[in-house]
């Protein structure tokens, strides 16, 4: 068997392993992938923005939890790159969490405050965009207020307590 024949056989073998692994792992088994990024075009998206709040906003009752436009966000910009924080990690937590359990809240908090304290209270927004005619409508909803004393979830996102869940049944 010459080099070309041996090489193509090896590539064929790897291709079979590649296909089996991506077929059984939803298209991803690094470094193998079917590369589905941007394959679903036009769907509404959900990302995140973080705002730095004045220190007196540590009291969650002073926060407005209503959905707003980008021009009316509370606080000041809090860029993540200078803090060494990955934007996609925050956005994934915010967009993919359906039920804000204590573990989820702690996981998002740890991105900002694992083994360190916060410089000031931070308000994490969920930003949603959808196509409206020939433009994109963007709205932001506060999700979580992080302070050095604790984490405060938007009351409208709180999971139902066992008591209310049972009463709902």
């Amino acid at each position: 068997m010459n080099v070309s024949q041996k090489s193509i056989r090896i590539v064929g073998g790897i291709l079979v392993i590649y296909a089996l692994l991506v077929a059984t792992h939803l298209g991803e088994f690094w470094p193998f992938s079917i590369y589905p990024m941007f394959s679903q075009a036009g769907n509404p998206w959900s990302r995140s923005l973080v705002r730095e709040m004045p220190s007196d906003v540590a009291d969650a009752r002073k926060v407005s939890w209503t959905t707003t436009s980008l021009d009316s966000l509370a606080g000041d910009s809090y860029p993540l790159v200078p803090q060494g924080i990955n934007q996609n990690d925050v956005a994934n937590y915010v967009s993919k969490t359906e039920s804000w359990t204590p573990d989820r809240i702690q996981g998002l908090r740890s991105i900002f405050a694992k083994n360190r304290s916060l410089p000031s209270p931070l308000l994490v927004y969920r930003v949603r965009g959808r196509l409206a005619d020939d433009s994109v409508s963007v709205r932001a909803t506060p999700v979580l207020l992080l302070t050095n004393e604790g984490s405060h979830l938007n009351p409208s996102l709180a999971p139902p307590s066992p008591a209310s869940a049972s009463s709902a049944r």
Binding site: V3, S4, Q5, K6, S7, I8, I10, V11, I14, L15, Y18, H25, E28, F29, W30, P31, S33, I34, Y35, P36, M37, F38, S39, Q40, A41, G42, W45, R47, S48, L49, V50, S77, Y78, P79, L80, V81, G84, I85, N86, Q87, N88, D89, V90, A91, N92, Y93, K96, D103, Q106, G107, S110, I111, K114, N115, G129, L131, D134, S135, V136, V138
Partner: protein, 306 residues
């Protein structure tokens, strides 16, 4: 089918004159590039995990079978990065031929731990495929020339397949309307939020301004991108190889200007694969030798007019 496979194997793995100094230098440069990027990825991921991650949100790859949360504490992440470097160096120096494959396993572990928060990043996939190709080449072939032939053929095959697969996914996921410029409007708005979140400010590029002014420019850009991805398997054939890799490289630059996403590792790696660097090195070495060899001085012969 068998004649196609035979032709494909010749296109991917049979090269003309090989084993020149340019070939050897080029191969080692590519190898060093892959190793350096692997270690850099693993180190930055390791430090990030130590500082920012406490729990697994989305288990990927091997994390579906083992709990990788131990990687988030006690500096296991940075230690694993050092392990990748040591194993990679054993492969690079040819002291231990399985070195690259074991490095790839540790690299995989680092990836699934780092991206356990839900993001599926594709920025490092080509580097991982490169380490896999090198690992197999070292185990399957004894001669450096054959290792080089295999590695490059392997890379062109799987890179071409990957980009074409991306085009197929778009056509399956959305259909023939995928290049509609409105979709690019949506992605630009999404990237604006990401850029605001990362840097606190967003300034649209010229290409983005064009799309925001008229979505039909977006249709044009998306169509070019989709067609480029669709024909990427053309890099399997030597005749089209450099042209197709250059087109994919151009597509990445277009993605950067329209969507603010820079796949740096893939872009630099494609630049290494998009030109016949080995031939250019040979030519440069030959030119340098021509310059450095002094012409013998010839004394004037008798009878020659002075």
């Amino acid at each position: 089918m068998s004649s196609f496979i035979k032709t494909l194997s010749q296109e991917l793995f049979t090269v003309g004159k090989s084993g020149t100094r340019g070939d050897r230098i080029y191969f080692r440069v590519v190898e060093l590039f892959l190793l350096a990027y692997a270690v850099w990825y693993c180190w930055t991921w390791g430090m990030y995990m130590q500082e920012n991650i406490t729990s697994v949100l989305l288990p990927l790859g091997i994390a579906q079978y083992i709990d990788v949360s131990f990687m988030f504490e006690n500096y296991f992440g940075p230690a694993n990065a050092i392990l990748v470097g040591v194993l990679g160096l054993l492969g690079f120096s040819r002291l231990w031929r399985p070195g690259y494959l074991f490095a790839l396993f540790a690299f995989h572990l680092q990836y699934v731990a780092r991206y356990s928060l839900g993001e599926i990043s594709h920025g490092s996939n080509l580097i991982g495929m490169g380490i896999l190709g090198l690992g197999i080449a070292l185990l399957a072939f004894r001669s450096e020339t054959n290792r080089q032939r295999f590695t490059f053929g392997f890379l062109y095959f799987f890179i071409g397949l990957g980009y074409t697969s991306a085009a197929v996914c778009k056509l399956i996921g959305t259909g023939i309307t995928w290049p509609d410029g409105h979709h690019l409007l949506m992605w630009i708005a999404e990237r604006k939020i990401d850029t605001l979140s990362k840097f606190g400010a967003f300034e649209p590029s010229i290409l983005q301004e064009l799309v925001l002014a008229d979505y039909r420019f977006g249709t044009l850009f998306l169509l070019i991108g989709l067609l480029t991805e669709a024909v990427s398997f053309g890099m399997w054939w030597r005749r089209y190889r450099y042209l197709v890799v250059m087109m994919v490289l151009g597509m990445h630059i277009g993605i950067y200007f329209t969507m603010n996403i820079f796949f740096h590792a893939s872009t630099y790696f494609l630049l290494l694969l998009a030109l016949p660097w080995n031939r250019m090195i040979d030519a440069a070495l030959a030119a340098a030798e021509d310059v450095s060899i002094p012409l013998p001085s010839q004394p004037p012969s008798r009878g020659e007019p002075t």
